[in-house]
Amino acid sequence: MRSFSRNSTLWLAFFAAAALVFVPACKKKPPTTTEQARPPAEQPSGPETRVPPPTSPAPSTIEGDITSQSLEEINRRGYLKDAFFDYDKADLRDDARAALSADAQWLKSHPSVQFLMEGHCDERGTSEYNLALGDRRANATREYLASLGVDASRIRTVSYGKERPFCNASTEDCWQQNRRAHFLITAK
């Protein structure tokens, strides 16, 4: 068991490195249309505070001993990258799949972690429909993680529709930030 665990640590290092290479590579792709703008990297356009975690490398999964951190701190550090969606869609885009692939590796290396996938929507639709749309987004993410080998029993989903926006400006940048499935780690 000990050697296995060591092996998996090595694997982890590999994947973490791969993820670090992969994510910036993705970023260089220009947005295809303004409608499908990628999640803004640095600054949110609105004055709100709940911006997505920075896309700079997360604290290394090797040295990131989460057992010594509070749940709040773990969530604040943003080890897991959220998945972003197109308007009125719950299909996973390429950038979402890339983020979730890296997330899956981290999750498999931290098998005791339990987490919540929160489905969020932008402000433009009606609130009741958006609650159902957020449910689809959260579950699309859950299913994809499960397909990558993350035990589905670790994942719970909740939809907030457009009730808990990350950003409050009426701009496409802000709407894109709000169309997401967001990770919340609930047990480490």
Binding site: T126, E128, Y129, L131, A132, D135, R136, S159
Partner: protein
Amino acid sequence: MRAFSRWLAVLAFVPAAAAQTQTTPVPAQPGPDIVIKVGGTGKRLPLAVPDLLAPGLAAVQARIAQPFSATLRSDLEYAGVFVITDPVHYPSGSRELATPQDADRWLGTGAEVLVDTRGDVAGDHVSIEARVWDLKSRRMIFGRRYSGGVSYVERIAHTLANDLVKEFTGKTGTFLSTIVFVSDRDGAKEIYAMDFDGRNPRRLTTHKSLALNPDARGGKVVFTSYVHRFPQIWIMATDGSGQREISTGVELNASPALSPDGSQIAFAGSAKGNPDIYVVNTSGGGLRRLTSTHALEASPDWSPTGRQIAYTSDQTGTPQIWVMDAEGTGARRLTYAGNWNDEVAWSPKGDRIAFACRNEGDFNICVMDVASGRTVQLTSEGSNGHPAWSPDGDKIVYQSRRGGSTQVYTMDSADGQNKRQLTEGRGNSVQPVWVP
């Protein structure tokens, strides 16, 4: 003199209870030859509604006469079938209609009917007599006495206004009805209630998380609460008492709608990310799924007979309003115009549906005649949503975002006229529903 003695005959005295409005349910006994019915023709009946005559000091005027008369006039204007002639032109002095000349002084103001109210104050109690006269014939067509604590003087005015609407239109007035809604004025979104005109707002929940999408019927309110992190359906009385969670066994638990008999709740539920319409017993248990598409179904509402459920489905690519039997069979699409229709509400008679509609730009409120499919858009300003019907079907209450915040408004359901803003101030007020 004759008229006055008849007035006395019609009145009945009911002793006032300590802290509640007492009305005397005495039949009005309208005069035999006078039939005044309004509504439906578009013509509004002109009323003279002079101030309540109440002997007493300025304090009595301020505490009783002014709030009573202001409430009564406001209600009667709001009913949509009366017009109040300008009080500035009302004759002073005696209101007796002993001679044709007495009536002419009122007819000269443009009024056809005089609503004469007189009050007596004794300690903490007030007794108010209402006499309603057809001015041309000088016949009394309505007479009733109301009494109660002085702090309930506005309730007395609402009760009288309801009685007058009933007298002239045959419909039940809405002036003692309640609107339940969601507001974040105190921080988290909670369920609130207020009078039909926006007065007396009061908070019903303190869940300090998210309380959403109330529906109300038969003295009960159902809503969705995130108080235990995952959304669940809750039920309570319209005063907020007796709050209880209803376990469904599925996720999402959004947009609960009470069946007309109150025994069941339709809602948007989800198992593994496929939102469908479900029904659960109000007592808990009996869960069944009514829709089984791979598309998204949400936001159900029962027809007034309980035989059908209207809801939103995106199975054609955009959110549209559909209807099915309450067993889940016979689904058919109702809306074809626009690229986003949601939040359907069935009219009390069942002949119309109201919903949030969008083609381009902002959302509006649309009303469709179910049989013909004919649809009218009732709003054109702001971003509007979540319509609900008044108990008599004459009004629609809805949310509208204009400027920075979203507030609750009402308008006439026939043509969108008489828009009134009911809430204001801190925060947003949304998702209103009208409780009979």
